[in-house]
Symmetry: C2
Subunit: 294 residues, 2 copies
């Protein structure tokens, strides 16, 4: 069993990005600039945004944060987004979700110029991804693809079972893995809450991508000997042994599943760190004008 | 075994659309208007376009056809498309594919105003479909969904195996069937040319959607007793017993498979007639402003 060390790979890729930024600057260019929009004071959103800003620094990016009170109207928020769309100094930006209930998230996402949509949530990017055209790909599935690539995990002709059909993980990773390409060319099965025989399907999988948000869902009896396990789950579960009172739990019963795998991602330190790195990668593509050609 | 009579259902739906058009006109409105763009003189394209025009008549739609010589430049074609985008008398339009080699099909598709893109090929429509938002859905998968609905075929929790990963059938029908909804909520497996064990996977399927373009690919030994078979294949195969020298062949070995099925579509007369009806349905949505609300 080999551990897929997402944290280590993330550090490597950040180093590669930082090196490219240095050459850009050495050649007289400017640092890529990622802007973030944060509405309200949700604890989770605050800490995600802090990590993103910190990672920008590690990559040599400029970052800026636009903060708005929870009382902002949708029109005011969209006006701010249009400001970022028109700001030639900003290469890409993200609007941290969730937004307050009085704001239509989809309307906000669609107000983003898709050429600066480094989260890859705009329908144009989602559609281009589905068709197989160059685009900003969503961060988490993109991070999974990078891990498969860096560990040279064979995907062609393999049966990949995806657990979960969310718009940000399950559906896009299924699409990416079924496309022609490497990684890619998988036979893909998507399971979800309405699937009656998940265990049986998982036992057939060469690769399982667990993205249900259900701690410990994937147990040892669901895993074929030698399977590759990618755990996207990150649920906070109570843990009185930790000072902060909780720990992150994946969707996989790691201790009992790991001995049966060829490769497995830990939680934390697996897919999580790759998500922010994918965002940095997208920002670099935006800054260098490569998003729609690479 | 029950035959899914696509031709009959298509006639019914055309009747329903024609009735709605009559009420629109009775209320002082105008008939929906579908325009088609045809470049060159490909035999297949000519006959598809003729069928579409004829179906418009049956539905009470206005139709118009813009014909261009094969020598048209991409810029000239895009200018014609912009004319249709701006023409308030045109509710929706299609550009018949394939286009001559010197024209970038994707650039042409993206020049279409997505709000008139009744083929559902524009990335915005593809993306909205993937996300599960209202949009123009592509005609063939949409026609399959209508058949499943009209025959009240249970899809929730069923395992659907899709053969083929094309942008116009395989990938979109997989997405539609895995979404929440009815029809929908299927566990979906997508198989393709790189899948080594298609037979074994098909034998597990409650529903098989065959869209490979490989005549007679699905044989009786691949089909579970009681399965639902949707055959999207339409390949011309030589047939000296026919005056024209050919017949249409589906992807399913119909004679041997049918006895094992609960439902099966014939070729011709199954999915084919539904494709044009879906296009009419999209045109009606465009004309009544319902495409992005229904």
């Amino acid at each position: 069993m080999q551990l897929i060390e997402g944290k280590k790979i993330a550090e490597q890729i950040k180093g590669e990005i930082a090196a490219e930024v240095q050459s850009i600057i050495a050649a007289g260019g400017r640092a890529p600039h990622l802007a973030g929009v944060l509405v309200g004071h949700d604890g989770g959103s605050e800490s995600y945004m802090t990590s993103k800003v910190k990672t920008c620094e590690q990559c040599g990016f400029k970052s800026s944060l636009l903060r708005f009170d929870e009382s902002i109207t949708q029109d005011e928020l969209i006006a701010a987004i249009q400001g970022l769309n028109n700001d030639k100094g900003v290469d890409g930006f993200i609007v941290q979700l969730p937004l307050p209930r009085h704001i239509d998230e989809q309307a906000v996402i669609e107000a983003i110029d898709y050429r600066k949509d480094v989260d890859g949530f705009h329908p144009i990017n989602v559609g281009r991804m589905a068709i197989g055209l160059p685009c900003f790909k969503p961060a988490t599935p993109s991070g999974i693809m990078m891990l498969l690539e860096r560990y040279k995990i064979e995907t062609r002709g393999k049966h990949c079972v995806v657990l979960g059909r969310s718009n940000i993980v399950g559906k896009p990773i299924a699409t990416m893995l079924m496309q022609k390409g490497n990684p890619g060319n998988c036979t893909v099965t998507v399971c979800h809450s309405a699937t009656p025989n998940i265990k049986e399907l998982c036992r057939q999988a060469d690769i399982i991508i667990a993205a249900l948000g259900h701690p410990g869902f994937v147990t040892a009896d669901m895993v074929k000997e030698g399977a590759v396990i990618i755990d996207v789950g990150t649920t906070r579960v109570e843990d009185p042994t930790r000072e902060r009172g909780w720990r992150l739990s994946g969707d996989v019963d790691f201790d009992n599943v790991a001995p049966h795998c060829s490769y497995i991602t830990p939680v934390p330190g697996g897919v999580g760190p790759m998500t922010i790195v994918s965002l940095m990668h997208n920002t670099l593509l935006a800054a260098t004008g490569r998003a729609y050609t690479d």
